[in-house]
């Protein structure tokens, strides 16, 4: 199969959606000629024009709110929020309006809105351009949350997000944009709520998201040499969250490590750990371990950033300590 980058995979999904459905349009800051801060939408402005690919003012409330309104009126807006760090500016429109609208109104309305946003650290961009705040939205019923780790998943899940009649937040890890992977030429989509076992294993279940999947896989391969067999599971969507696949794995391994780049406290791992501990209690041979970004804002200096973000070495140590529990 041909290999393309994570960035290209997303762009293809957008391109296909724009081509096949006139109700799909993009809006966001600097997504036009530049193609967004990470050039994901590059070329689409030239191809589809100003109506379909809309540069906006710096107005996160209006961007998300207007996209919500447009979705209510039958369009399928895809908005880009340049960094997920800026989502709190639109907190009300996301949390109180888009997410709750259908429910509050007794099911009268659909909000087929996709919010694409960029998360993750690793570029020394400091506290306002490095967060992974997906957990804020996991705690908000009414939203669906996508967090892909490979080009294949990125494309297939974005297609589903755009077709979904509910508001979806789609998180793209900036450090993955240049990563390459096989992506079929023909159109396909991936259902929400299906975790993917990225690598099978017997000894430890490792649940990871976004770039941590890549780091985890690399560690898992290294450990394979040392005779430790790690199963790596990528939930891919945090809401819906496929716990079944996780429970199946836990029944097999009895040991679980969760790794994410969101900060530890009340992060996605807290929920996953709590559920495993409740539902798979009898299968656990060791306490569920979490490895996450330390509970601080993201610092700028590389040495500090590396210290707070889980590194491959940290993952390795955590797996070994679990193994020896």
């Amino acid at each position: 199969m041909r290999e393309i980058t994570f960035r290209e995979a997303i762009r293809e999904a957008l391109d296909e959606a724009l081509r096949s459905d006139a109700k799909v349009f993009l809006m966001g800051e600097d997504i036009g000629p530049l193609g967004g801060a990470f050039t994901v939408t590059k070329g689409l402005f030239d191809k589809y024009g100003r109506k379909r690919v809309r540069n906006t003012p710096i107005s996160e409330v209006a961007i998300v709110g207007a996209a919500t309104g447009a979705a209510m009126a039958g369009l399928r807006p895809i908005t880009e929020i340049m960094f997920c760090d800026f989502l709190p500016l639109a907190g009300d429109q996301i949390i109180n309006q888009a997410a709750k609208m259908r429910y509050m109104f007794g099911g009268q309305v659909k909000v087929p809105l996709t919010i694409r946003t960029i998360l993750g650290a690793g570029l020394s961009a400091a506290a306002h351009h490095s967060q992974s705040n997906e957990a804020l939205f996991m705690h908000t019923p009414g939203l669906k949350l996508v967090i892909p780790s490979t080009p294949y998943d990125a494309k297939g899940l974005l297609k589903t997000a755009i077709l979904d009649d509910n508001p979806v937040i789609y998180f793209e890890h900036r450090c993955l944009y240049d990563s390459k992977g096989p992506v079929p030429e023909n159109s396909y989509s991936i259902s929400f709520g299906r975790a993917d076992v990225k690598k099978e294993g017997r000894d430890v279940t490792l649940i990871a998201t976004a770039e941590m999947v890549i780091k985890s896989l690399s560690v898992a391969e290294e450990l394979e040499q040392e005779g430790i067999s790690v199963e790596v599971i990528d939930p891919r969507t945090l809401n819906p969250l496929d716990m079944e696949t996780i429970y199946e794995s836990v029944k097999k391994t009895g040991r679980v490590l969760i790794v994410h780049e969101a900060v530890l406290t009340c992060g996605p791992g807290a929920e996953i750990a709590a559920r495993i501990s409740e539902e798979a209690f009898d299968y656990l041979d060791a306490p569920v371990k979490r490895l996450a970004t330390k509970d601080v804002p993201i610092p700028m200096a590389p040495v500090l950033e590396d210290f707070v973000i889980p590194q491959k070495e940290d993952i390795k140590i955590a797996i070994k300590s679990l193994r020896n529990f």
Binding site: P57, G65, A66, T68, G69, A73, Q93, N96, L163
Partner: protein, 323 residues
């Protein structure tokens, strides 16, 4: 001529319907029949009615916490509204929304809103959709003087004017944001002046004069429909009751309320209709009687309706999809 007569009679009927619906709701609320909270629209009827008189059935409106008047003026069903106030299964939102979240998407009512200013970006978005789809619809966005200090107001009006969206922003300036007089929440008197910040027209209207409201907003609606962009319309008006039912009203005098009641939008318009021989007194009584009945029916319907099934609390969150 007959058309015009019917139109004017309709305006009166609509205002009367709001007035009586609200009075009834207030009564029921104090009888402890209604759960939740209640923000009455009494005194401001000319705004909703005058504005909605320019709108087609499929035009959109966004509303506020003080939304009953907007809904009735746009044509909402009193039975389903009242049932929603009661929190019944037959209500517009199946009891999930209540007074602050009534919506009727079949006639473009995009919902009341518990967040002050929360509907402004949304209205901007439906207008964007109309422009995009070239469906000829206009969105009217209702909000209060207090809401005009929200960030979303600024961002939305900027965007709407930049993109020439077919939306009319109708500010109901009733001189108070909850308990805070206008002079304590903004350093200007005429909110319409803020239109200049967005290079859009700003209009000030006597919000207690239903015809003035109709005529001026109609221009704004037609302007929007013609693709010439948004307008900010400020209607000066007043609410007779407290901010919410139960408000001790420590922030204003009885005299002030009395003064405003002299300019009552219903009385004023009725007088106009009678003095100009547009409608006979008998006809008005007839219309009023019909509305009384309609409201009684609505209350009966609501009372007789079943409460929602408890488990229905878990429904309506997501659209279930195939695939």
């Amino acid at each position: 001529m007959e058309n015009k007569r019917n139109f004017l009679a309709g305006l009166y009927a609509s205002m009367y319907k709001i007035r009586r619906f609200e009075q009834e709701a207030v009564k029921l609320f104090h009888n402890k029949e209604l759960p939740g909270w209640l923000h009455s629209y009494i005194g401001e009827e000319a705004v909703a009615v005058g504005v909605c008189a320019s709108l087609n059935r499929d035009d959109y409106i966004t509303s506020t916490h003080r939304g009953h008047g907007h809904c009735i003026a746009k044509g909402a069903d009193l039975k389903r509204m009242m049932a929603e106030l009661y929190g019944k299964e037959t209500g517009y939102c199946k009891g999930k929304g209540g007074s602050m979240h009534i919506a009727d998407f079949s006639i473009g009512i995009l919902g009341a809103n518990g967040i002050v200013g929360g509907g402004i970006p949304i209205a901007t978005g439906t207008a964007l959709a109309s422009q995009y789809l070239e469906d000829g619809r206009v969105t009217v966005c209702f909000f209060g003087d207090g809401a005009s200090n929200q960030g979303g107001f600024h961002e939305s009006l900027n965007l709407a004017s930049l993109w020439k969206l077919p939306v009319v922003y109708v500010c109901e300036n009733n001189l108070y944001a909850e308990t805070t007089p206008q002079a304590d929440h903004q350093p200007i008197r005429d909110i319409a002046d803020r239109a200049k910040s967005y290079n859009m027209p700003g209009v000030i209207i006597d919000g207690n004069d239903v015809l003035a409201v109709y005529e001026e907003t109609n221009k704004a609606v037609e302007r929007a429909r013609a693709g010439r962009g948004p307008t900010l319309v400020e209607c000066k008006t007043y609410r007779y009751r407290g901010h919410w039912e139960g408000d001790p009203e420590v922030y204003r005098t009885k005299e002030e309320v009395k003064e405003w009641k002299k300019r009552d939008p219903l009385k004023k318009f009725k007088k106009y209709l009678l003095e100009n021989d547009i409608i006979q007194s008998k006809e008005i009584s007839f219309v009023e009687k019909k509305i009384e009945d309609e409201i009684k029916d609505a209350v009966k319907y609501a009372q007789a309706s079943p409460p929602p099934r408890p488990e229905s609390a878990l429904e309506d969150l997501y659209v279930e999809q195939g695939g």
